[in-house]
Structures are given as C-alpha cells and as structure tokens.
C-alpha cells in the first residue's frame, strides 16, 4: 500500500500535477507520525502511512505559507476528506485546486490494522466512498452515550461538570490550531474592540471561549477529534462537538462533510424549520 502511495506522490510531482505533497512522515528518533511536505520526487520515499496517522492534514490547506508552495496533493484520510468537502463548500478552496490521495485504515489509531488507498480521485467520488464507510456510524447511540449521560443530569450538575472541565483550560488554543475548519484570519478570541472573550485563563474567558469554539463549529465539525487529540488538558471537546452535530442532524437533517455542493446548515434555512421553542 505504501509503495502505491509513494508511486502516486512521485507521479504527481514529476508530472507537475502537484507542487507539494502533504502527507505523513516519521519523526526521527521515536518514529511518531508527523506532517511531511514533499516537493522533490526523490523525497517521496519518506512518506509513510500507518494506523497511527490520524492528524487532520486539511488544516494546512488554508495556510498562506502552505498555499505559497503551489498546488497541493493531500494524503487524505476519511475525516480529512470530509474537512476538505467543508472547506470547498465554504469557498475556502476550489474543488479542482488540489489533488486528493484518499487513504484509509480499518481501525484508525489501532496498530497493526490494514491500510489501503481509497478508490476515487475527485472530491465527489471520495465523498461517496467516505459516506459509504462513515455515514451513520459517527453519531450512533454508543458514540453519543456520554452526551446522553450528561443530558440525563440536572442543569446544575451539567454546569458543575463543565465548570471543572473548563477550569483546566490553559488557553493554549491547540484545539483551534489543530482544527481544519478554524481558519479565520482573526479569531474572535483575539478581537479586543470590543473584546468578546477575556484572554486570561480565568473561568469566564474559558467558558466563553469553549462556547464560541463549539458554536462556530456547529453544522461544520466533521468529528475528526483533532481538537480533542491536541488538547494537553484532556478537555472533552468531542462531547460538545457531538452534542451539536446531533442537534444539527436532528433539527436540520444535515451532516457536515458529505456533500461539498450542499448549502451549509447554518448559512441556509428552510421555512419549515421547527420552532416549538419560540413563543
């Protein structure tokens, strides 16, 4: 599989279809997978792909320094493909402005499971491929068990739960940096005229930051868990993301990342949207 991947990357660079291949390489020393940017055909031998390669590389596509390298080819896992679909949907990328090398592991994160290239080359084909594998598997009862458990508690218990979780936040913004969809040039947390979010790691600023982070990803989050993986304080960001993803699915019959031609859930409406809560 890895030979096919390297061969494909080499072809893309040699034929000029891509100026840079963004994939995974191995960190010297411990062999941990790290992002690798390959611009020379001979360097493609350094590309690797294992079940440990779970970073969402789509986050590099919107960076100006990466864009300056030229047309990219992206080694894209299913969540990465979903993130690309949302970026295209939100006019941050052109669907034909990059090449996708779809890859997939049977059980991402579990060593020893089989990895393969995904069939399909265009975004639409890969979306269909990813939908076949993931759609309906992400917001299952099991995946939402912790959300449901928290919902079953009283409001005061939920507040206490999040107060304790948010209290640990050191405001490093690793979650934001790891997220392929947090691409705003100026994030609301850095705006200070007026200031919406106090910048110190105090309870108010922390609470507001996490409210904004979750809400700004509502209807957009592709559930890749890059934010939760990046969090050094183990704040359960996936819990907030899944809660809102479920609400978007239940209320608007929409799941992010499966159709780059669909209108985004929070930037569209139906006149028939339910409004039982409005007096």
């Amino acid at each position: 599989m890895i030979d096919q991947l390297r061969q494909r990357a080499r072809e893309l660079l040699e034929t000029g279809q891509a100026a840079v291949v963004i994939g995974y390489g191995e960190r010297a020393g411990d062999g941990r997978p790290v992002p690798l940017f390959v611009t020379q055909p001979a360097e493609t031998a350094r590309l690797v792909f294992t079940p440990a390669c779970v970073d969402n590389l789509a986050r590099y596509l919107t960076r100006k320094d990466v864009q300056a390298l030229g047309r990219p080819a992206l080694v894209a896992t299913p969540p990465t493909i979903k993130a690309v679909a949302v970026l295209v949907q939100e006019n941050q990328l052109a669907a034909d402005g990059l090449v996708l090398i779809g890859v997939c592991c049977e059980a991402p994160g579990t060593a020893g499971t089989a990895c393969a290239l995904l069939a399909g080359a265009t975004l639409a084909e890969l979306e269909a491929e990813v939908a076949g594998r993931l759609r309906g598997q992400e917001l299952t009862e099991a995946a939402l068990a912790r959300v449901a458990a928290l919902e079953a508690q009283s409001a005061d218990e939920r507040w206490a739960f999040w107060e304790a979780e948010f209290a640990r936040c050191i405001r490093c913004y690793a979650c934001r940096q790891a997220c392929p969809l947090c691409y705003c040039e100026q994030c609301i947390v850095e705006k200070n005229q007026p200031q919406w979010v106090p910048s110190s790691p105090h309870p108010l600023g922390n609470t507001l930051f996490h409210f904004y982070r979750a809400f700004h990803l509502a209807g957009r989050c592709v559930l890749c868990d890059a934010c939760a993986e990046a969090c050094p304080m183990d704040i359960p960001l996936g819990l907030l993301n899944r809660k809102l993803a479920r609400e978007v699915r239940d209320n608007f019959a929409y799941e992010a990342g499966y159709d780059h031609t669909a209108p985004p859930a929070m930037a569209s409406y139906r006149s028939s949207d339910q409004e039982a809560f409005i007096r």
Binding site: W162, E163, L204, A218, F252, Y269
Partner: protein
C-alpha cells in the same frame, strides 16, 4: 456591573428579587410592537432593558453571552414572524442559530428559561406586554444567575 446595580437599586434584604433582563429586538417588528404597547398605555414589568438592532439576523449569540457577562439574569430575543422579515429571511437564519445555540447553553447547564425567544409583530403590543410579564416571572422564579455572575467576578475581580 456597578452601573447596573445602581439601576436596579439596592434591594432590601427580604425584598422580592427583581431580575435584570436584556431584550434584543429587531427594529421593524418587535421594537414597533413594544412601542405600540407603550403608546397603548399597556403595563409591563420594568425589569427589561430593550436593545434594538436592525434584524434578528444581526443578533449574534455573543450578544446574549455578553448580556450575562454584564449582569443580566435573563435574555429575551424577539423579532418578526416568519415570512414578515423586513430583509426577507434574516429571522429564518436567526431561527437556525437559536435552535443550536440554546441546545449548547442547555448542555452547558444554563436553564433554557434564561434565554427566551419570540416573534412579536408591530401590531402585537399586547403580546409584547404579556410576554415581558411571563419572561420576568420565569426568571424571577429561577433567581439571580449566580453561576454565571460568579465566573464573571472571578475574572474581573470586582465585588458585587
């Protein structure tokens, strides 16, 4: 916070709790409706502070959070009925936003009655006055939003 305290007056120890409620309303329907309530001499609780915006589509969720941060115990958001938006569809976008945002607040442990939503047209002065009454009673029953105000104080260091 100090200014708001002044506005609410220093309550006597056993006085009825008077909640502070911020209302974000649209210029074209609810503000006109509230105006009608006034010109019609309809009475409603003075606990509400109305902030007028062009459209409910302009009411970012951050405004609601900011109101709590500044000492509000409850927030009311109101605009044109569906189909009546001055800008055709601002209220439809707002409705989607509120649907998700109130779920986020609820999940975080904020009682849904602290943030209420309604449609009030320019002709519904009576609905406005009754609505303000009901929202005020809801928030009064919930009591001060101590949980949120406590984290606000922890940041600003100000004493209430």
């Amino acid at each position: 916070m100090a200014v708001l305290d002044q506005a609410a007056g220093a309550p006597a120890p056993d006085a009825v709790f008077e909640p502070r409620i911020t209302a974000f309303v649209c210029n074209w329907c609810t503000y006109a409706g509230a105006d009608l309530a006034g010109t019609s001499r309809l009475k409603y609780p003075a606990n509400i502070r109305v902030i007028k915006l062009t459209c409910t589509g302009r009411i970012a969720p951050g405004f609601i959070l900011k109101a709590f941060q500044e000492g509000a115990d409850g927030v009311l958001v109101s605009g044109c009925h569906p189909g009546d938006c001055h800008y055709t569809s601002g209220n439809y976008y707002a409705r989607r936003r509120w649907t998700i945002f109130r779920q986020l607040l609820d999940f975080a442990g904020i009682d849904s009655r602290r943030v209420q939503f309604s449609w009030v047209s320019a002709a519904e002065g009576r609905k406005w006055s009754e609505l303000v009454g009901r929202v005020t009673e809801d928030v009064r029953a919930l009591g001060p939003f101590s949980a949120f105000h406590a984290i606000t104080r922890s940041c600003t260091g100000s004493e209430e």
